[in-house]
């Protein structure tokens, strides 16, 4: 089936960046010199628009950035948020499950004595608090950005 000029031009205008023309459009362009010229002209125009000569500013920006970077501490590999959340979830879950099921764990009682459930829950609670404090302390910059974005910090 033949493609009309209007359809071909509409399809050209709908194309994503770097997207292939597709078989139907390609066939139409090979037969229709008007549409082919229009497609080529648009490509040339965009190519010329993107081909901007390098400016002096680029070198200047690189110099200024690198001068600042040399004075800054090196960025360190950090953990993904889910890497932080998983241990916290395990500690929290253990803290809540221990009083419920702790009495059924005979080997734990023989190992730590009869009152171990309370002591262990206390240790887990302290560990959870310390872990949370450490997480907040290492994410202060992100917290500040988050609060700033929502306008919750006074200027």
């Amino acid at each position: 089936m033949k493609m009309r000029h209007e359809t071909a031009l509409r399809k050209l205008d709908e194309l994503d960046a770097g997207q292939d023309y597709g078989l139907a459009l390609r066939m139409h362009l090979s037969r229709c010199s008007t549409c082919a010229a229009s497609a080529q002209l648009l490509q040339e125009a965009l190519r010329s628009y993107r081909a901007e000569p390098a400016s002096e500013e680029e070198g200047l920006v690189a110099q200024r950035v690198m001068a600042a970077v040399r004075l800054m501490p090196s960025p360190q590999q950090d953990f993904a948020l889910r890497d932080w959340i998983l241990p916290a979830a395990i500690i929290a879950l253990s803290m809540f499950l221990l009083p419920l099921f702790g009495k059924n764990l005979g080997f734990m009682e023989s190992l730590f004595g009869p009152g171990y459930v309370f002591s262990l829950a206390l240790v887990l609670g302290i560990a959870f608090t310390a872990y949370s404090a450490f997480f907040i302390a290492t994410h202060l910059a992100e917290l500040q950005t988050y609060l700033e974005k929502r306008g919750l910090l006074p200027r």
Partner: protein, 186 residues
């Protein structure tokens, strides 16, 4: 090796890996490779060379600080443009200025040549399309036409739905095609 030679030979991923291993100098590869794009975005927003240079510096410093959080799920250029876009929007918000996207902005080019004329017409069409839109959406047009980003990448950077971006770009292309009609040479 010269800075330019190293820029050509080192990939973004390699450079990022070296920076995270403590070699701060490797960051220059990324700055040299991407500074033109960031500067261009700054010029689109601020219409001032000095302000665009300050903006670009700010963006790269932010990128350096946050480099460890780059997970490689998108291209480094997309990640960097997202930082640039947010920085520009926040900077404008802070100044409480109305962004004016001037359709008559001057484009550098060799006067008198057909290529320069075509480039000028293209720039006019892009600027006109941008002027018709709210400032935050207007950048979608530039991200498509100048940066050659896909709709999905623009959506990732700006947060706008793909269909919104697609319809803006569609209208801008149609407008550009009309402006280019005189260049056919037939």
């Amino acid at each position: 090796m010269s800075a330019a030679g190293e820029t050509r030979e080192t990939s973004d991923e390699e450079a990022i890996g070296r920076v995270l291993d403590g070699d701060a100098e490797a960051f220059e590869v990324l700055v040299r490779r991407h500074s033109a794009r960031v500067l261009r975005l700054g010029q689109s927003f601020f219409h001032d060379q000095d302000e665009a240079a300050d903006f670009a510096q700010d963006v790269f410093i932010k990128a350096y600080t946050a480099l460890a959080s780059f997970r490689g799920r998108s291209l480094f250029s997309t990640w960097l443009l997202r930082i640039a876009y947010n920085t520009a929007i926040n900077s404008k918000k802070r100044k409480r200025e109305q962004i004016s996207l001037d359709p008559e902005i001057e484009m550098a080019g060799e006067p008198g040549t057909d290529v320069a004329h075509m480039r000028e017409e293209t720039a006019k069409a892009v600027r006109a399309a941008m002027a018709d839109l709210p400032p935050k959406q207007a950048l979608c047009i530039e991200l498509y036409f100048y940066y050659e980003l896909k709709y999905s990448e623009i959506s990732e950077i700006t947060g706008y739905p793909v269909n919104t971006i697609k319809s803006h770009v569609f209208r801008a292309k149609r407008n550009l095609r009309e402006r280019l009609e005189g260049f056919g040479g037939e």
